[in-house]
């Protein structure tokens, strides 16, 4: 399906299902083509989990998220196992990226469903799909390209690299957790709930319309109580 086509209502749901199917097919194909016929059904597990999440999540939306998370972890686990035993890397990487797309779309659909009203839904969906497509293609190209690079690392450099990555990951999580404020900086240095804006810079401006005629009270509207509790006032 072309992304230039106007996304219709439910297109996200359809694309998510397609991504799940693609994930299962690619992983399964990788296992089958690698001669691991007995283990090929394992590739179905992420799909089954996603289906279960859809069925169960319709009644308990909160459960849908963690089931989708588990399905993503399983898809990457199946892909990692396939790579470990030497199956086709292209199939495994493509299947994992499809799983990542399915997980992203599942969450996006959940956000759309949770919102009581979605304004300009078509543009919102289109923006998301373009972003996801770009990220997925770039990450897949990057992953496939990285397979061509051969680099010999000693034990100590590997450990140091691992520690560096650990520190970086920790830093990233803290950064995201604090809403873009670097750890250690004073509260309110960026937009936070209840403390919008950097110091000295108003990032949000509010105003409300006042109804003239109510003097200092400055009330925005004055109406009568609509509830008629007795029979009086007729």
């Amino acid at each position: 399906m072309s992304l230039r086509a106007r996304p219709q209502r439910g297109v996200v749901s359809g694309l998510q299902a397609a991504c799940v199917a693609l994930c299962v097919l690619l992983l399964g194909a990788g296992y089958l083509l690698g001669g691991m016929v007995a283990w090929a059904p394992v590739a179905l597990l992420p799909g089954v989990l996603w289906l279960a999440g859809r069925w169960y999540g319709a009644r308990r939306p909160a459960a849908r998220r963690w089931i989708a998370g588990a399905a993503l972890a399983l898809a990457f686990g199946v892909a990692a196992a396939g790579l470990w035993i030497g199956l086709g890397a292209v199939w495994m990487l493509a299947g994992a990226v499809a799983g990542l797309c399915a997980w992203d779309l599942d969450d996006f659909e959940g956000r759309l469903v949770a919102a009581t009203r979605v304004a300009d839904r078509v543009r919102l969906e289109r923006k998301h799909l373009w972003h996801l497509a770009g990220t997925s293609v770039a990450s897949l190209v990057l992953a496939l390209g990285s397979l061509q690079i051969r680099l010999q690392l000693g034990f100590l450099p590997a450990i140091l690299l691992g520690l560096l990555v650990l520190a970086g990951l920790n830093r990233t999580i803290r950064y995201l957790r604090h809403g873009g404020r670097s750890p250690g900086s004073p509260p309110g240095s960026t937009s936070q709930a209840g403390a919008p804006g950097r110091p000295g810079q108003a990032t949000v401006i509010g105003e409300s319309e006042r109804v003239p005629g109510y003097g200092d009270a400055g009330y925005d509207a004055v109406v009568r109580d609509p509830y008629s509790l007795g029979r009086e006032g007729n």
Binding site: G69, F76, A79, A80, L83, W84, A89, M92, L100, F108, R111, L112, A115, R117, A119, D120, L124, K127, H128, S139, L140, L142, A143, S146, L147, L151, L153, A158, I159, V165, T172, L176, R177, G179, T190, S191, Q192, A193, G194, P196, T203, V204, I205, G206, S208, Y214, A217, D220, A221, V222, V223, R224, D225, P226, Y227, S228, L229, G230, E232, G233
Partner: protein
């Protein structure tokens, strides 16, 4: 954050496994996850620079709003900063407002300079409702990196109590004011009710000469004198003590008391009287006496904000601040009135006030919300007996009592309770 941890955790696990097993394929598998996280950071939203404007409007003309009316709340948000791929705006609506149409939250995307409108229709109940800041959450497309902010768009909505148009009950305060009005003033002069006979004075019209009396005194003429009708000072006391309330929500007894106070104030003001209001509950809410439409608006606004409350000081009516009301004026007490309040009423009478008590019936309200049971019926009967006893004691003191079952119109209750007495008020007597 859970999503970030999931993606980050998976990426880190793959990295560790790749490094430990010296498997470049696992490191390659980690790259899509890392790219996904990196894209979230790279495309992360800047601090949302938004401007909000809130408009609250009634469905019809303000002065003629009828039962079942609603208010339309419209919030316009303008993006004055960079593009926001995914922005969620939510309006925390005051709890007393019931949304009947529209949505109080919206998810959308906002380009620079673009507007986003949020509109909903809410049914309102009496009170002063304050709208707070909007909750805004901006995220990049994947939703991993989110910035939240509060967008000031405050507004205040005053919902006045519904006023029933009733005739003011007849009152006879000991002292009236100097302007013509409907209240008999106990003084001779121009009026309609016969007041007495006095010697003819030059300038008296011929039609006021009492020929019968004059016939008995051949050398003197006598004229009829009529009772002057003046306006009066009326003080309305609304009992807002917590213990005087019954029922719950909009069907509570206090809501009926508020509406009765509003209707009585409106009726007395329409007759030209000077009316003040005292809300006696958790604290004292005082509206200084005044005349006319402006005073009506003041009283209704005060009643809009009236709430029941509990206070050790004002638990009983003993601390009614009588200096707020001119001496020998008319007081209207809107309260279910408990036996231990009788002493306070007696004090008011001793200070020269004329007291009219409007007693909304808490029993009928309570019985409506309780499950039908013999115990409930018996309890209701006992309380009714107690109320009848209190009424009798009040009437003996000279207090006029209106017992009001809140499911019947207030005016009907006034006519039933005061109609006969109002027809022939004894002059100079304290009732």
């Amino acid at each position: 954050l859970r999503r970030v941890i999931l993606v980050g955790g998976l990426a880190f696990s793959l990295l560790l496994a790749g490094l430990a097993g010296r498997r470049g394929e696992l490191l390659a598998l980690m790259l899509p996850l890392a790219a996904y996280l990196a894209a979230a950071l790279f495309f992360g939203p800047a601090s949302p620079r938004l401007r909000a404007r809130r408009t609250v409007s009634t469905a019809g003309a303000t002065a003629t709003a009828q039962a079942g009316d609603t208010v339309t709340v419209r919030v316009e948000v303008v993006n004055e900063g960079r593009s926001l791929p995914e922005v969620w705006v939510r309006d925390p609506v005051p709890a007393a407002l019931e949304i009947v149409a529209g949505a109080r939250g919206v998810l959308s995307t906002l380009a620079p300079g673009e507007r986003l409108e949020l509109e909903y229709v809410a049914r309102v109940s009496r009170g002063i409702h304050e709208f707070g800041a909007l909750e805004v959450s901006a995220a990049e497309p994947s939703g991993l990196y989110r910035r939240t902010a509060e967008l000031p768009a405050s507004a205040k909505l005053v919902v006045l109590p519904r006023v029933a148009t009733i005739r003011a009950p007849a009152i006879r305060p000991l002292r009236t004011r100097g302007y013509a009005g409907p209240v008999p003033s106990r003084r001779g002069g121009a009026g309609t009710d016969f007041f007495g006979v006095r010697e003819y004075q030059v300038g008296d019209p011929r039609r006021v000469i009492n020929w019968r009396v004059s016939a008995r005194h051949p050398r003197t003429l006598f004229s009829n004198e009529f009772e002057k009708e003046r306006i009066a000072d009326v003080g309305i006391i609304l009992d807002a003590r917590w213990r005087s309330d019954a029922g719950a929500g909009r069907g509570s007894l206090f809501e009926h008391s508020v509406r009765a106070s509003a209707s009585l104030a409106d009726a007395f003001l329409r007759d030209g009287n000077r009316v003040g209001l005292l809300i006696y509950g958790r604290a004292l809410g005082w509206t200084f006496p005044g005349y006319g439409k402006v005073q009506r608006a003041r009283i209704l606004r005060a009643l809009a904000g009236a709430r029941t409350g509990e206070s050790q000081v004002f638990d009983r009516l003993d601390y009614l601040p009588t200096r707020f009301f001119p001496t020998e004026s008319q007081l209207v007490l809107v309260s279910p009135l408990w036996p231990d309040d009788l002493l306070a009423v007696r004090r008011l009478l001793a200070r020269g006030y004329r007291v009219l008590v409007v007693r909304p019936d808490p029993v009928s309200v309570e019985v409506d919300v309780l499950p039908p049971a013999p115990e409930v019926t018996l309890a209701a009967r006992l309380v009714q007996v107690e109320r009848a006893l209190v009424r009798r004691r009040l009437q003996r003191m000279g207090v006029r009592v209106v017992d009001w079952r809140v499911d019947q119109p207030l005016e009907q209750a006034i006519q039933i309770s005061l109609g006969r007495l109002a027809a022939s008020p004894p002059l100079g007597a304290r009732r």
